[in-house]
């Protein structure tokens, strides 16, 4: 035992790690308000830099060549990705970053496996197995989520025969082989098979999940990337990894809970429920006795220009059409005519938590005009016009009123309570849940069948030309 006066380099490194841990916590604390959030991110990044610099003085580091190569390569790729990505593509960007973080933890655990090959100790092998499981599942799962969000593969839930059985067999095999590694012999072949199975498991888990459930998947993968880091912290006996990993694990878990609550579904149902597997064209609306009122840009422009209170309700269709700047332009025009404009954001609108908020912020719409579900739902009663842009299931009154509906119980935005509703949408096709939307047939609803960007542009020029 060293005396307190006998400070080693390792002690200094540990103290710097403590500062980094505090910086991360402050960083998240400052995220509690948009006005301090940027400072928080700066705090956290400085904490990270301190931790990296301190680690370079670790006594076990002998050669720096590979470290320089790795840091430069990673930084270049990271900066280019972060600067080039469009705001509409943020969900897939976060998904792929989760994957990188998870795989980094798993690769470290794999390297430790190589180093520890002949250890009689069971605990490190247990931690290695856990880190490999969580990290590589995060990696391959994130890649599938990325491919789906980028629409490089179908965004729909992909179902194949014996899907759950195959997934279960894969998982059980991983547990069995890992136990063999822990309690019997540290066979390299078995370890490589475990890695392959973990990569396969990530794919099997995410492939059957549909696009609109991605907010849950991305949140969950976020949580896993943190847990993988925490487990690697147990393995390396490193408290900073444990603390940071648990913070991120908690963040992902909270977001996952918020998302599943906003869908009124359990996590198990999201992962294994195969929601959105039905082809939307097969279950088209049964419109035999229901009347839809279709409208034109002229009519919408007049309606908006003479309204007192308007609420915009954005959904994934807004992101697809990249129409956030058009929304802002229209809102500016209307506000100059004295119309009160607000925005209602459903927690699961878009493809990740807060997706719509980022898009509208990009278009310079002030964040204090964006309202959460609970904060705005009572305001629809005295709203003249609600403009729904590319949202569907989150405004379906059946979720509130029809117990037989698959959506029943999901909290929705009560747009149907406003005096008039304009739905800007390309066609009558149902939303992700494959359920027909009663809102479209209501007397106070007008359907404006257009691409979000084109439709808004038409309304904007009509307001500019004839209504100012």
């Amino acid at each position: 035992m060293n005396s307190l006066m006998d400070i080693t380099m390792n002690d200094i490194i540990q103290l710097v790690y403590l500062i980094a841990a505090i910086a991360f916590m402050l960083g998240i604390k400052y995220l509690s308000s948009p006005s301090t959030a940027r400072k928080g991110n700066l705090f956290a990044s400085v904490g990270m830099l301190l931790a990296i610099v301190a680690t370079l003085f670790n006594e076990n580091i002998i050669s720096y060549e590979l470290i320089v190569v790795g840091l430069i390569t990673g930084s270049l790729i990271g900066v280019v990705l972060a600067k080039k990505v469009q705001m509409t593509a943020m969900p897939q960007m976060v998904a792929i970053f989760n994957g990188f973080g998870g795989s980094a933890s798993a690769l470290i655990a794999s390297a430790e496996f190589v180093n520890l090959s002949n250890t009689p100790d069971k605990f490190p092998i247990l931690m290695i197995s856990l880190s490999v499981l969580i990290g590589f599942v995060t990696f391959s799962g994130s890649i599938i989520a990325f491919l789906k969000l980028q629409e490089l593969i179908s965004g729909r839930a992909i179902i194949y025969p014996f899907q759950k059985t195959i997934t279960a067999i894969c998982f059980i095999s991983i547990i069995a082989l890992s136990s063999y590694l822990i309690f019997s012999t540290t066979s390299t072949i078995a370890f490589i098979i475990v890695i392959s199975l973990c990569l396969l498991l990530g794919i099997l888990l995410v492939v059957p999940i549909g696009g609109a459930d991605m907010p849950v998947v991305v949140s969950l993968l976020n949580s896993y990337s943190g847990l993988a880091a925490a487990v690697t912290g147990f393995l390396l006996n490193n408290l900073l990894l444990v603390i940071s990993g648990s913070l991120v694990g908690a963040a992902g878990l909270i977001l996952t809970t918020i998302m599943t609550k906003a869908m009124n579904r359990s996590l198990v149902n999201v992962i294994f429920g195969n929601f959105g597997a039905t082809d939307s064209s097969d279950s088209g609306p049964d419109d035999t006795d229901k009347i839809v009122r279709s409208t034109s840009f002229e009519e919408v422009a007049i309606l908006l220009a003479y309204a007192d209170r308007v609420i915009f309700v954005p959904g994934y269709g807004l992101a697809v059409a990249q129409a956030q700047h058009q929304v802002r332009e229209l809102a500016d025009l209307l506000e100059s005519k004295g119309v009160d404009i607000r925005y209602a954001i459903h927690p699961v609108a878009g493809r990740m938590p807060g997706h719509m908020n980022v898009l509208l912020a990009e278009a310079n719409i002030p964040y204090d005009k964006l309202y959460d579900l609970d904060d705005i739902n009572d305001s629809f009663d005295n709203t003249d016009v609600s403009v729904v842009i590319g949202a569907n299931d989150v405004i379906n009154p059946a979720a509130r009123d029809t117990p037989s509906s698959p959506l029943y119980g999901m909290p929705i935005l009560n747009v149907d309570k406003s005096r008039s509703v304009v739905v800007l949408k390309r066609s009558m096709s149902p939303g992700f849940a494959g359920v027909d939307n009663d809102l479209f047939y209501m007397d106070n609803t007008m359907m404006f069948f257009r691409d979000a960007k084109d439709g808004l542009n038409e309304i904007i020029s009509e307001v500019k030309d004839n209504l100012l």
Binding site: M25, R38, N41, A44, S45, M48, A51, I52, T55, N58, N60, I62, S63, L66, I67, G70, L71, T73, G74, I77, G78, K83, M87, M90, M93, V94, F97, N98, F100, G101, A104, S105, L107, I108, E112, N115, P124, S225, A228, A230, T232, F234, N237, N238, L241, S244, S246, V248, A250, G252, I254, L255, I345, M352, G354, H355, P366, Y367, K369, L370
Partner: protein, 108 residues
């Protein structure tokens, strides 16, 4: 690692999760995307593990490829380091890019 150390780390783990829950429940929904990408960048802390692994020269397990001797653990460490660096640098940069867009009303 002995049991005392393990119990100690377990304490830290559990308490950090509690702190995480307290801090994160106060983040407003409007910042949920930057929270994810920022938290994601923090999970890149695994970079310090990657630094140690890729800086070690352990000659126990090597692989000869085209006449060059490669240390498997070091190569795994290098990939871990590249991935973790992408995660850290990309994550903080993209979070900052998003956060600078969030503005309050009346000062456009």
């Amino acid at each position: 690692m002995n049991e005392i150390e393990l119990i100690f780390i377990l304490y830290v783990f559990v308490l950090a999760i509690f702190v995480g829950f307290e801090l994160i429940t106060k983040v407003p929904p409007t910042l949920h995307t930057p929270l994810m990408s920022g938290a994601n960048a923090i999970s890149g802390i695994t970079i310090i593990g990657a630094l140690i692994v890729s800086g070690q020269t352990n000659n126990d397990a090597t692989l000869s490829l085209f006449g060059i001797t490669i240390n498997i653990a070091t190569i795994l460490g290098l990939f871990a380091l590249i991935f973790a660096t992408i995660n850290v640098v990309g994550g903080f940069t993209v979070t900052d890019r998003m956060l600078q867009m969030f503005k309050k009303g009346n000062n456009r």
